[in-house]
Subunit: 403 residues, 2 copies
Amino acid sequence: MARKPHVPRKVLPEAFVLGASHTRFGEAWEKSYRDLMTEAGLGALKDARIAGDEIDAVFVGTMSTGKLVGQEHVAPLLLDGAGLADRHIPATRVEAAGASGAVAFRQGVNLIRSGSADVVVVGGIEKMTDVSDADAQAIASAGIDQEWEHFVGATETALWAMMAKRHMAAFGTTREQLAAVAVKNHAHGAKNPLAQFRRAIDEAAVLRAPLIADPLGMFDCAPISDGAACVVLASAKIAAGRADAVRVSGSGMASDSLALHSRPSLTSLAATEHAARRAYAEAGISPADVQLAEVHDGTTLGELLAIEDLGFVKKGQGGPATAKGRTTFGGDLAVINPSGGLKARGHPAGATGIAQVCEVVWHLRGQAGERQVKDARIGITHNTGGTGATAVVHVLEKTEVPE
Amino acid sequence: MARKPHVPRKVLPEAFVLGASHTRFGEAWEKSYRDLMTEAGLGALKDARIAGDEIDAVFVGTMSTGKLVGQEHVAPLLLDGAGLADRHIPATRVEAAGASGAVAFRQGVNLIRSGSADVVVVGGIEKMTDVSDADAQAIASAGIDQEWEHFVGATETALWAMMAKRHMAAFGTTREQLAAVAVKNHAHGAKNPLAQFRRAIDEAAVLRAPLIADPLGMFDCAPISDGAACVVLASAKIAAGRADAVRVSGSGMASDSLALHSRPSLTSLAATEHAARRAYAEAGISPADVQLAEVHDGTTLGELLAIEDLGFVKKGQGGPATAKGRTTFGGDLAVINPSGGLKARGHPAGATGIAQVCEVVWHLRGQAGERQVKDARIGITHNTGGTGATAVVHVLEKTEVPE
């Protein structure tokens, strides 16, 4: 019963982002999980100029809320916090470790495209600093294979470090090139009022930081963070005439084996390659068309893999391109992580994928302030879980929605 | 910007169940989380006569895998276990406490209906007996409001007990009527080879069992279980000519506030009422058209609320209807929980919603053996999370798919 691969319908109803908001990322000890979600949710509704009774569905991306705050079943909380529980709106939580946010966003896009919803609210959240750092690190490693990796001593960072060693051996990537990712992203984050870290750092600071897993030091790794982000998605009918609407022109998602040992290569993430190919094909674009990309720099090596696997540079060229400044403001490639990325904006796991969408939306609308990427028309987001067993890529475009 | 409620498109591409399988539920200490998922997954693919390269997407419903087995990010595991990781198929985990399975099923249905997938595999799983009973109970209570309920001492069962007291006060429901649910479901489960408990019990056994939360005793509560279930969903194109295909003719989902104190009533679940109304409207049916229903009897009170809120009997009449045998084989209403329900089949949280679909499919195909509901043409599933902050109802119909 073999058959040809499924060919999606050519003309899907289109989805648009109408509102975007995220809390400042960092250590928010004075705010509860519920508070953070409510703050981002109400912010997005206000930005979208949408009232609660217009919402057809809600999705929430969050990773380890059960272990971090004892609460599963969190999707209804977003409505609770917004005073909308009595609307009985379908509310769904999705989870894919660090990619939870983007996977939630994709469910919202799919629902709008199916024609069975006009307004979908998508939130992402994580509250990670209410447990000890050691517990938070162990929880963060729940995205790798427990039976075959974590149980025998590997942490997620240790696996990324192994991939970094392999990348260095295969392509001559240097320690300094890895550090260049952190230096760039801290410089970007310094201009982002919502970033966890707003201080620029130099290469020497990265190189002398405590080692986490050789060759990755503290400044090569995204922090543990609290934060929430939320966007409002709408159909063309609702977005009509809204000059600030941003079109979701491509959505790609792919999986891979959880355990690294089952993959043919350690120097590229096949899930990223597949997700990007699918998203670019839907949008009819190539990487050369993109002015900015929010990519998953959970480690500095993660950003190098990302810009290679997403096609901004050839495999193995991520290090030199970054060190030469090609991926920052004024470079010849897309600006990578103008927000500061996971490294400097912070990485509340489930919130990251939605915050990436917020950042791209703000640039396409011209609202990114000091860090605005000039003439931004097309931006992409790239969010991965674990060591890349889930990858999600979205293409967002500045658009004019017909009245 | 007020607008009318969204009216779904009249003619959606239809979704069909082509394959269904679940493991025996119970204490599976000899099998890992991965083993259980693989067993159910391969069973469903075999039953559907579908090969791996035809799968467009995967959804997995699971509740507390992070706390129970240390593993988040589990959706890719289903593909891993089936030897399909190298297909890089999008794989998404969803979670809504005890309703995780049905919420996952709904995502699969939506994706087929959107026209952007032809074959979607949906799994549900929980491995609950590898932690202590006390831990498992606490984890089971992660579906109620942590800040406002669990933190101050309430467990999920205590809240259901409070609702039971209120139902007794409002409608004269008796302790014996609650017990009748357990007696019926154990009798049904005795004929189900995949049930955790295959022993009939009498009323006296229920009434003398240790009290869990007054008035609910041990036999009023579903057990802690291990188990996995899996179904294969397909578009009309793929289902064409398959005499054993079952049509998903209605899907309804609704939410409510997590905390009981925010709801206007303790004697009905508004989320169930809304989900049922939506599912029945899509399918164009009323409860009188239904021959069997798999409903969420996490407690005996849960089944009474369910048959009232789903419209099988008037509010307050659940107890008498059950005690009179109207909801078992030979009764005048739909057979409720022919599988034995959560009470006797067992309740591996995330697996339950998918096992309910399996059971209805087997009856509609005439494959339910000793417990077959005669002339079954339409069956429904009803799955709730926590104390009903999420409810999902699906309508399944025997069908002839045109060649």
